[in-house]
Amino acid sequence: MSVRIVGAGAAGINVVDEWILLSDCPTGSLACDGEASSVDGSLASQKLLLAPDITGGLGCFGSRDLAWRMVGQENQQLEELLKDCSRLLIVTGLAGATGATVAEVLSLKAVEREIPTTVFAFPPFPFETEERQEAAEATRDALPAEASLFLFPPPPLSEEPIPDVAAVRRGLRAFQSALAQWVDVWSGMARGVVLPANPGAEAESSRFTVAGVIEDCHVFSEARARLDLSLPGFLEGSGFRQAAEKADRCLAYIEAGGEDSGWKEELGERLREFLPKRTRLDLLRRTEARPTETRLLLLVGRAASRHPTPVCPERDEERPAPEPARIPLRPCVFPEPEGRLVPASQASQDGTPFAKTAATLHKGQNLDIPAFRRRSRS
């Protein structure tokens, strides 16, 4: 099973780089952009510089037309990428031209080949031009319905007349790290393994990530047997002991082949209760408002769902459901949870001698992570 994680555009590459630094097993990464500096500087194992003969490696300066020309020229290369690929994740910012175009083209190609595709994207900042907002909207609508789309709103900006640049940078970095955690969890899930975000450390895991794991854990049904063991471990390692117990029971229930209705209730209960009492997540509020089935479809897309009959998110109960193939899947927006996000990459290194240095990477492995741990996993 070959999983491919593509960082499209400079913003996407940044997130993929964060993920490489964070993850224990960062394989199958690809950096793709028109700007030579971001591609060359990436930590991804594969790199694709788009049409250097057209732009000279300087990028397309936000021109969508030029981005399409660049992507068109690299058509063959992009198709090569999808060979032997069994699951595809594209990380991109929708505001940029190159990233958005690559995401659109690549996801269309992947869907044609029936490769389960997920897109992690973040919309433009509110201060960006209307033209860019519209272009991002258009890209979002143009993504194939069969692909799952997760939209992450970027961190809110300070309203002060002279914003603190360092604070903005920190906010962006935290956002990238949180998103990288998602990528890590997705990558682990796609490989059938869920591992604690902060192994061995007493660090707080991002609730963002825990929510992601809970949401996705049942999706990859083929990996269920392994998830049985690893999901509770992940939750416990992340400091959510009660959730771990709950997940354990729930998975046992699924394993036993319980009825559909019971499974849904159990899942709903688990989602409501897995976080500490004072924590408030919009995600949970929405869970209450929508049927679980619908939400799951929104989250993971039809192809990945284990449900035999998909349901339209906006379905009127009295009308018959439209054909599954024609259902347009709307993106699900995850608001940033309240409280401080602690990226695992930072939390796990605090107090160690490597907190202030770049990670030592060797053949895609982060050598700063204890060797005995990496070896036992492999």
Binding site: G200, A201, G351, T352, P353, F354, K356, T357, A358, T360, H362, L367, D368, P370, A371, F372, R373, R375
Partner: protein
């Protein structure tokens, strides 16, 4: 120059991950080095040989320099600086000089031209060349020689071992020293300096690998046929072993460091396999018992990985298959119990603990495994000084004589 006392004192400075070390020696008129003394201060703000806090590092360097001045009664004005870090890259380069269809006699100018060419070689953006170490000259018929001057050939090729690093990181280190009103006379790659302290000319010629197990990084260098055949730096060192132990046993880093130093081993012998070692209560820590098998498992996994990465890198080199030299371990990390046995097993070659070559004078360098880099800097400094001064009176006379004899041979 050797008569000038102010310039005959050489000072080596290494800003390492765990300690700042300074060594002071005197270079006498015969070209021999007398070790005057050594000094050190703890370094807390250098990670993987890169400075993370400028001011604190500067204070630590200042402290070590003051200590050295006090011990040796020498006023230190200039130093030889060791350079290291995970950003250091090394690679081979071959250059060729066309001497015309009819061929020509090779002169010193040709060698200088080749050297200029290698220094102009394009490097990745932001990198600068640290060392251009000549390996050998090759003539058009394939003859390899260290001194082709006077030989006829249509083409002259030269193999160089080049070492480069990120300019900004190097600037930080050099600037940190310069701010203390110290002149950086020259800098040397840490592993290159270490080899100067350990290897005799015979060992360099026969072939040797020196692995310097530092606290922040592990660097290595390979000598073959008298020249540097390969070098490398891995951003993993003794701190990683300590950190692994801290994670596995769930104890703070300083306590793990203490545990590593007192009971650390990578050799699970029968007599220790079922033992448990106690960590005494102290401060806010409670008494704790740790099985030796766990300590060995954790340390062995990390140390074996370091050696395996180095072995893989060496196996990729064309010379490695026929290489029959010895492997020497040095640096603070080489004092870990059982490390030689582990290295022998992984490299499948004889491995031994390196001993620094002796200096003249009363200060002995015996047992100074962790000082090899600064001691090597002194030897490197000696070479630089001798090259600058033209090698001393007798060398100059010898060169004039050989030039005279070569003219007689020609006519």
């Amino acid at each position: 120059m050797f008569g000038n006392k102010s310039r005959s004192v050489l000072v080596g400075l290494e800003a390492g991950t765990s300690k700042i070390k300074v060594a002071v020696a005197e270079l006498n008129a015969r070209g021999a080095l007398t070790l005057l003394g050594v000094a050190e201060s703890p370094s807390t703000h250098i990670r993987k040989c890169e400075i993370t806090d400028f001011e604190m590092t500067q204070k630590a360097i200042h402290q070590a320099i003051l200590d050295a001045e006090e011990k040796t009664d020498v006023s230190i004005g200039e130093v030889y600086l060791a350079i290291s870090g995970a950003h250091i890259r090394s690679f081979q380069s071959r250059l060729a000089l066309d001497l015309g269809r009819e061929g020509a006699m090779i002169e010193q100018g040709h060698l200088r031209e080749l050297r200029e060419l290698v220094r102009q070689q394009a490097l990745p953006q932001g990198q600068i060349l640290l060392h251009d170490l000549l390996q050998t000259y090759i003539l058009d018929d394939g003859t390899a020689t260290a001194n082709p001057v006077g030989l006829f050939s249509r083409r002259l090729m030269a193999d160089y071992h080049l070492v480069s690093g990120i300019a900004t990181r190097l600037q930080t280190t050099v600037h940190c020293v310069k701010e203390l009103s110290l002149r950086v006379k020259a800098y040397a790659l840490s592993s290159y300096a270490t080899a100067q302290a350990l290897l005799s000319p015979e060992q360099k010629s026969f072939g040797s690998v020196v692995i310097n197990c530092g606290a922040g990084i592990t660097d290595y260098i390979v000598y073959r046929n008298g020249f540097v055949a390969h070098s490398g730096t891995l951003g993993v060192g003794g701190d990683h072993l300590t950190n692994d132990l801290a994670v596995a046993v769930k104890i703070p880093f300083p306590r793990a460091e203490e545990l590593k130093k007192t009971h650390g081993t990578v050799d699970l012998r029968e007599d220790v396999a079922h033992r448990r070692v106690g960590l005494m209560a102290g401060g806010s820590y409670e008494q704790q018992f740790v099985p030796m098998s766990l300590i060995v498992e954790v340390l062995q996994a990390r140390q074996a990985e370091i050696f395996e990465i180095i072995r893989e890198n060496l196996e990729d080199q064309p010379f490695w298959e026929g290489f029959s030299g010895r492997i020497f371990l040095t640096g603070g990390g080489s004092q870990l119990d059982g490390i030689q046995k582990l290295a022998t097993k992984i490299f499948d070659r004889p491995v031994e603990a390196a001993k620094p070559l002796a200096f003249e004078g009363e200060v002995s360098c015996e047992g100074r495994q962790g000082w090899t880099t600064v001691l090597g800097l002194l030897r490197y400094g000696r070479i630089v000084e001798m090259q600058e001064s033209g090698g001393g009176r007798w060398d100059r006379i010898g060169r004039s004589l050989s030039r005279f004899l070569s003219r007689i041979r020609l006519f």
